[in-house]
């Protein structure tokens, strides 16, 4: 028994009994400890999130009060981008672009996956650290570098990239077509290439750790749903980010080296007829959305995994339909690769192709629905503890329902003709990403804060934060559906193009007010988060009475190597909550089998002697070849 446990501990290139001396630099800066790296991801994600949110408030000011000038705009942005306190139309586009880029990639991918995969995979799987702590550290620093580059790009003279976060060429490929497509766009590409590096390094680590380094007894079916979610998220990222890398490389070449992969038949005002010929902007769209669609599932799957865990723990009930949940995750992950065309229904694609994408897009609604029903069934007949984490998880389910249902309209190619690139789409993706996924992140932060910092966040502030954010978020995004149905396109600097759009002025004011209040509510969170690190109430070892392994690792010391002695062995699934016949309403995974194991409600008899599945004679291909060539007699 202990031999395989020892086998686990010698995986790492560094001493894992905490004996080596750590300087400030190795402990806090270039740390290779997954818990510290997860905090680094979290804090960078939060900082970038604040920056992205600030941008949204700035451009919401413009949308609500297009007639007015705001001194604050000129103070913050200078007289070039906000002359006389009125936001410049080109810079508005830059704000929208950077807001989207930051939120999608830096907050919801790195800040969500990066934080929680790093924190929970080793702890919940029962491993000392990630498979390669060094690569893990690199993954964070690539992310940091990427953030710095993107933030810097906002302040350069010609302005940040401004062609939307989707940066379609030719607009993004031709510096003369808009100011932001110059240096700003180059920096955006550099930032994204660094980010992709970070994502790949991280993803390889997560997959390997989940496959190779689960502790004894932690079969795949005994993994918490968080790990299933992070595992498939990492696979999604692994296979889709490279395609964006390829697409971005081609864009770099088009911009700087005169190639014509995406450019053809262009006459630019002020430049004349360009020589590029034979390229296709649609190729970029295909390559971009091949990442772009899995990307949004990379965003939502971890949030859903976190929700599964938090709802189960706080309802004191097993998650309903564990197997169905796993199959849904796998189904969503697989299907997400074959639906990217639904972002391109109106590009003039072959209608047959449109048909295929529509069918698969609507199919993907089925596993999403199954997950939602499972959450509801978990709440039913539960004993619900309203921790802030639980509230955010419930909020996620609400947003997921609202946002997911509008996806069904958009997935229908015919209806999409009318709604594409209108505010209806803006409402849809903000509800599922900007609300549901962010709530998943918040839920995770509140729930695992004791695991990160050994203290709990202030509950009361947490409740205020939740209700304020939840209500204002709905107030911001619900009216946008109707704006879309009124034909108002997105990415519009102001609504003055048609007199009938003027009717939405007051609605814009309402939305902006709600957004400002929502933004201010985040101050409650920020204060809570940072002050609790130092002054928060010290937490119990297992404050939420959870079954999973991360709560068996000592909280106070934040031990390098996670467990002071041997890694615990796992004997049961993680959802034994309120099991009849027991005093406690939870049974941690480490509690041995007492003959009453009932996981997945199938009775589980341990075979007396597990058959060995290691073949007796292992001959490697290289040996065979060498023998054949007479080079080896082995």
């Amino acid at each position: 028994m202990s031999q395989s446990a020892t086998a686990n501990t010698h995986e790492h290139g560094h001493d894992d009994h905490g004996h080596h001396k750590e300087s400030f630099i190795t402990k806090y800066v270039f740390s290779q400890d997954h818990k510290m790296i997860s905090k680094q991801f979290l804090i960078t994600g939060i900082v970038m999130g604040c920056f992205g949110m600030l941008m949204s408030i700035l451009f919401r000011l413009q949308l609500a009060w297009p007639d007015s000038s705001f001194q604050i705009l000129e103070t913050l942005l200078g007289s070039k981008w906000a002359p006389g306190g009125k936001l410049d139309a080109s810079f508005y586009m830059g704000l929208v672009t950077i807001h989207g880029t930051i939120m999608v990639f830096f907050v919801l991918t790195a800040g969500l996956s990066g934080t929680f995969s790093n924190l929970l995979i080793p702890l919940q799987c029962g491993s000392r650290d990630m498979a390669s702590p060094f690569m893990n550290m690199l993954s964070y620093w690539f992310f940091f570098a990427s953030s710095v580059v993107l933030t810097y790009s906002v302040f350069i003279e010609s302005g940040p990239a401004a062609a939307g976060w989707t940066v379609y060429p030719p607009l993004s490929a031709l510096p003369k077509s808009m100011p932001g497509s110059g240096l700003g766009m180059t920096l955006w590409l550099v930032s994204m290439i660094l980010f992709i590096g970070s994502a790949l390094l991280g993803g390889i680590n997560y997959i390997t750790t989940v496959l190779n380094m689960r502790t004894k007894g932690m079969s795949m079916n005994r993994m918490p749903l968080t790990i299933w979610a992070f595992f498939f998220t990492a696979i999604l990222g692994l296979l889709s980010f490279p395609v964006l890398l390829g697409g971005s490389l081609l864009l770099v070449f088009d911009r700087s080296f005169g190639t014509s992969f995406y450019l053809s038949d262009i006459f630019l005002n002020g430049e004349g007829a360009l020589a590029n010929s034979g390229g296709s902007p649609i190729l970029f769209q295909h390559l971009f959305w091949f990442l772009g669609h899995p990307e949004v599932y990379i965003i939502i799957l971890p949030a859903l995994g976190i929700t599964s865990e938090i709802i189960a723990v706080n309802a004191r009930k097993p998650i309903f339909g564990y197997t169905a949940m796993v199959i849904s995750i796998i189904g969503i992950a697989f299907l997400s690769f074959i639906v990217w065309g639904h972002h391109m229904f109106i590009t003039g694609m072959n209608p047959l192709l449109g048909l295929v994408f529509m069918i698969f897009t609507l199919i993907i609604a089925v596993p999403s629905a199954v997950k939602t029903f499972n959450y509801l069934a978990t709440l039913w007949r539960g004993n619900i503890q309203f921790t802030p984490g639980m509230l955010f998880a419930i909020g996620l389910v609400s947003f997921f329902i609202s946002g997911g249902l509008t996806g069904i309209f958009l997935g229908n190619a015919a209806i999409d003709i009318q709604l594409h690139d209108t505010y209806f789409v803006v409402a849809h993706f903000h509800l599922v990403m900007g609300c549901a996924a962010i709530f998943g992140m918040m839920a995770g932060i509140y729930h695992w804060y004791p695991r990160l910092y050994g203290r709990t966040m202030n509950k009361t502030l947490g409740y205020m934060h939740f209700w304020l954010t939840f209500i204002t978020a709905y107030m911001v995004f619900f009216p946008m559906h109707f704006m879309g149905l009124a034909g108002v396109p997105r990415r519009y600097y102001q609504f003055t193009v048609l007199p009938e759009f003027g009717i939405w002025e007051n609605v814009n004011v309402l939305i902006t007010f709600a957004a400002i209040i929502g933004a201010l509510a985040q101050l409650l969170f920020l204060y809570n988060f940072f002050s609790s690190i130092f002054y928060g109430r010290k937490s119990a070892q297992n404050p939420w009475k959870s079954n999973t392994l991360e709560w068996t690792s000592p909280i106070e010391e934040r031990l390098h190597g996670n467990w002071p002695g041997a890694i615990p062995t796992v004997h049961r699934w993680p959802y034994d909550y309120s099991k009849p016949g027991y005093d406690d309403d939870f049974i941690p995974q480490t509690v041995p089998d007492d003959g009453n194991l009932d996981e997945l409600a199938h009775s589980h008899t341990q075979p007396a002697e597990p058959p060995s599945d290691e073949p007796k004679n292992v001959v490697h291909f290289s040996t065979l070849l060498a023998r054949w060539m007479g080079l080896s007699k082995a």
């Binding site: 001194q71 038949d265 902007p281």
Partner: protein, 588 residues
């Protein structure tokens, strides 16, 4: 482009009278104009329609949009200066006019479209309109305008409101903070939570869903009324029906699931003595709620398939073609002339005389010397770079702030080699363009490409007219970047991509007038908008589409003239114009 000056002018008057029906005609307030032409309401109205058609996408009178505000421009610039700038600002800047260069630098170096085809009296009308509107005459042109007075007032109110709001929030924040502290203290003293948070939150959940549903209903009732009116096309109605069916199903799911979510949260809130039920799965139930959504979605898929197919697979496509050309930042339409065929086109043939690059042999032949002249001019500029550098350096002293900065930027451009590289690139592009045009004129396909079908094409800049109850195919082309042609009232949208030919096929079933009557809104119109981010003035790219009865349409069409027809015949007075055009095309 048009027969002669007075004919065109008469046409303008006719068009503007139509506009006048919509915009009430107020008496003009100015007495004289810098253009030197006599002031009258008709000219001003014509100028207004020109402004709306050509200027409004980037300019407003009272505020900066993409370009600067134009109010009182006549007080800042001479008529001659304005004339040169508007007709060809690039050539004007290249000629060295300091003011022109300054304006360019100040507006983010965005290149303004050249309006070389404006006749002198059109230009006069335009300026006259601006003069008049600046002085307060006439009705508001459109929503891009923002009243100057209001800005000042708003700003004041804004400032006061801001401070009030900030203090209010600070106060609320303080109160919240105190509440939290008090609750905490009491709980610590008591040893347990003073407030039953489970109960509180559960009750708020219940309140939330109740109020939430009411708010939802309110939204549908109020904002729901502001959505688009009934579609004006055949397929549009089918699309709306598909939408309604989807709304029906998703609406039911929405109500049931959101309700259950918050109801369960309330009902099963944690309290003393409550124990959860250990219930991990139920295969039958799971099967049911997997199969039912699958069935509903299948229904939606089939409905969607049928609607999508009917839209994209219209057998009547390609029968009545109208080309719609997208560019930064406007739309132009091209109608086939009497031959019923649209001429071929190529981006290498685009020029100030041929803004859509239609394949017309002598247009193409005439373009070659223009481009060759461009190349010569670029070469001269390259040679002159050292001199320019010296000039800039000597004139640097004494400049401050923005001017100094722009000087330094220019110096940097030359020193770093960027200026030279850019000019060389332009020379390369022009060379390749010339070669391509030459090849097109010399290959065996020249006769097919330069078939005369384009010679009689009609180019429309202000509003597209189409006949009702006829299947029309809009053929789209883009000049520079991806745009998206979005016609909300027709339920039509398609990307317009440079290098790719896209189209929408539809049949309008309600004329504009019918719709106006039905909606009781005499100012209602069908509009074409841009729905794909395309640059600075993306939000202002529009073109009106008028659906006429067959008779009205025929009448309208017959009063339009071919864009190139008269160019061939070129009477003497227009030859001068051609030269002027050529001269002002000095650098492009």
């Amino acid at each position: 482009m048009y027969k002669n000056l007075s004919e065109k002018f008469k046409k303008l008057v006719l068009i503007s009278l139509a506009f006048l029906a919509i915009n009430s005609l107020n008496a003009s307030v100015i007495k004289e104009s810098i253009s030197g032409k006599p002031v009258d309401d008709v000219t001003i109205a014509a100028g207004k329609s020109l402004f709306e058609g050509k200027c409004q996408s980037c300019h407003a009178l009272n505020n900066k949009l993409v370009g600067p505000a134009l109010k009182d421009i006549h007080k800042r610039r001479t008529y001659d200066w304005l004339s040169k700038w508007i007709k060809d600002n690039e050539a004007f800047r290249k000629s060295g006019d300091a003011d022109a260069i300054a304006v360019f630098e100040k507006n983010n170096k965005l290149v303004m479209t050249s309006f070389n085809d404006l006749k002198d009296d059109e230009l006069a009308a335009l300026i006259m309109y601006i003069e008049d509107a600046s002085a307060g005459g006439g009705a508001k042109t459109s929503a891009t305008e923002t009243p100057t007075v209001a800005v000042a007032v708003d700003k004041k109110i804004e400032s006061r409101v801001n401070w009030v709001l900030i203090c209010l929030f600070a106060l609320i924040g303080l109160i919240l903070f105190l509440i939290v502290k008090i609750i905490e203290q009491v709980s610590t003293i008591r040893g347990k939570d003073v407030i039953d948070w489970n109960s509180v939150n559960a009750k708020i959940c219940l309140a939330f869903i109740t109020i939430g549903f009411i708010a939802c209903a309110w939204e549908f009732a109020v904002h729901g009324k502001w959505v688009l009116p009934e579609a004006a096309t055949e397929h549009g109605r089918k699309l709306d029906q598909m939408f309604n069916i989807t709304l029906f199903f998703t609406g039911i799911v929405f109500v049931i699931t959101e309700f259950l979510l918050f109801w369960f949260a309330y009902k099963y809130r944690g309290r003393e003595g409550n124990k959860a039920l250990y219930y991990s799965h139920n295969h039958k139930l799971e099967a049911v709620w997997t199969i039912i959504p699958a069935i509903v979605l299948t229904v939606l898929v089939i409905g969607g398939l049928k609607t999508w197919n009917s839209i994209t697979n219209n057998p009547e496509r390609d029968k009545n073609n109208i080309e719609v050309f997208a560019y930064q930042f406007g739309w132009t339409a091209r109608y086939p002339g009497e031959d019923g065929k649209l001429g071929k086109s190529n981006w290498n043939l685009i020029s100030n005389d041929n803004l859509l690059g239609v394949a017309i042999k002598d247009q193409a032949e005439n373009l070659i010397p223009v481009l060759e002249q461009d190349i010569k001019d670029f070469e001269i500029q390259i040679k002159a770079l050292p001199t320019k550098l010296a000039e800039l350096k000597t004139s640097l002293g004494g400049l401050v702030d923005d001017e100094r900065k722009s000087h330094l930027d220019k110096i940097e451009e030359i020193v770093s080699g960027t200026a030279k590289a850019e000019l060389e690139k332009k020379i390369t592009n022009r060379t390749i363009q010339i070669n391509r045009i030459k090849v097109s004129l010399e290959t065996e396909n020249a006769a097919t490409f330069y078939d005369q079908t384009g010679n009689d094409d009609i180019i429309i800049n202000n509003e597209i007219h189409i006949p009702v109850n006829k299947t029309i195919t809009f053929k789209f082309r883009a000049r520079d970047v991806i745009h998206s042609a979005y016609i909300p009232m027709f339920r039509a949208q398609i990307n317009v991509v440079p290098g790719l030919a896209t189209e929408v096929v539809f049949k309008a079933i309600e004329t504009t007038k019918e719709k106006q009557a039905k909606l009781n809104r005499p100012d209602f119109d069908y509009w074409l908008l841009c729905a794909k981010i395309c640059g600075a003035a993306h939000f202002n790219m529009k073109m009106k589409i008028v659906v006429d009865t067959e008779a009205e349409y025929k009448k309208w069409l017959s009063s339009q003239e071919g864009a190139f027809v008269k160019k061939q015949e070129m009477p003497t007075e227009n030859t001068n114009q051609k030269d002027t055009i050529q001269k002002s095309l000095v650098i492009n």
